[in-house]
Symmetry: C2
């Protein structure tokens, strides 16, 4: 039997960076003179960059030209870069990835961001890019909530998408997982509520990566004690 493969979102799922993204966007949008309350920004984090800006502007009835959107994204990148040193691995994230590697369960990171956005996260997780499967937004036609990133992740791991578990913290992860036909598992560590994740399509919700690591058996990952002792005998 092939062990189930896991596709991990990064921000809010493995690294504690959602609130830094919110702060960076607050700073940038404040300079535009339009009022974007922080909670509305928070609820859009995880959408691919351009979709993020479009979704926020839609709230205010405004639109932006593609060059304006690009300008806002560049300003966010600079504002986030000033906060990147604060980004830490979430509790249990490093241990979870290590456990999966040891257990021979394939895993990949799938993130809407660009390679340079993923760098502080990989650093916080102690991952070298060459040593892991990492799919970034620039490698696919459409970012979350489109299923493209997840489909690409499964392809890179060489497993059918239906055999994957998508682990994420935002509703966008589960809208994408549903479209792709993957099994969604939510973590509360990005600051969404449990019911928001369940309603969007998450089938199970755990507190954080540490909680997921303790309960991997519920998802059929890792060997049971009895399987291990059978093998050893």
């Amino acid at each position: 039997m092939t062990p189930r493969a896991l596709l991990f979102d990064v921000d809010g799922t493995l690294v504690d960076s959602v609130y830094q993204h919110v702060a960076a966007w607050c700073e940038v949008l404040d300079q535009t003179g339009i009022v974007f309350p922080a909670w509305r920004i928070h609820r859009r984090i995880g959408l691919g960059g351009e979709r993020f800006v479009e979704a926020l502007l839609a709230d205010t009835g405004r639109t932006a030209t593609p060059p304006e959107v690009k300008r806002l994204l560049r300003r966010h990148d600079r504002a986030f870069a000033r906060r990147a040193h604060q980004v830490k691995a979430l509790p249990g994230a490093r241990e979870l990835l290590q456990f999966l590697s040891n257990a021979g369960a394939p895993w990949a990171l799938v993130t809407s961001g660009r390679p340079q956005d993923a760098r502080p996260a990989l650093q916080a997780l102690g991952i070298r890019r060459r040593g892991a499967t990492v799919v970034t937004g620039d490698q696919v036609a459409d970012a979350k909530p489109a299923p493209d990133l997840l489909v690409a992740g499964a392809e890179r791991l060489g497993v059918p998408i239906e055999a994957t578990i998508v682990v994420g913290d935002s509703v966008w992860d589960f809208i994408a997982a549903r479209q792709a036909g993957a099994f969604g598992v939510g973590l509360l560590s990005g600051g969404y509520g449990r019911d928001e994740l369940l309603r969007a399509g998450a089938r199970r919700v755990y507190q954080d990566a540490a909680d997921l690591l303790r309960r991997l058996g519920e998802l059929g990952i890792g060997q049971t004690e009895s399987a291990r002792s059978l093998k050893a005998s």
Copy 2:
């Protein structure tokens, strides 16, 4: 008939300050060397200061002496003060309070913070302290989720607590409202999920103050068009 009275929480309900409080606490707690993920801090905002610190420490199995708690609170105050200029009124908050004043519906602000903490919020709302009923944490024996602040607010307005509507953004507001026997109304503008607020005891949940203002009639506040025309005739 006495018009129903409203008791408003401040942070996340009327002013956009929750994410600044999270950032301030992240900064302070980071210096203690204990890992406190931002989402766990976020979910405790709205608890009275000392209870907040105790609840966070409980997660890590640590305790703090009263002087240590006080020291952390002072450091948070300084970290928040550096962000206070970012605090703005949430959409519809000023208009909502103005409408209630014009309609003769009594209202008060009830906040776990101390008077100096409430100052930037009052400023953002365009309220002079002498012109409004404001109950702060230092004026009662116990902060939220104890009902003391709400009971004091109702007393100051001269209305029975059962006739009040408590408007808040966090589960702590509704735990307090339930204990006090008040009717809880939730707003999503502090970044909690709708179901979290409903489960904690909110009877209705609106997006933000602007949304509540449009739907005040659902709560029996303000006159209907027909009542107004009857009066005029």
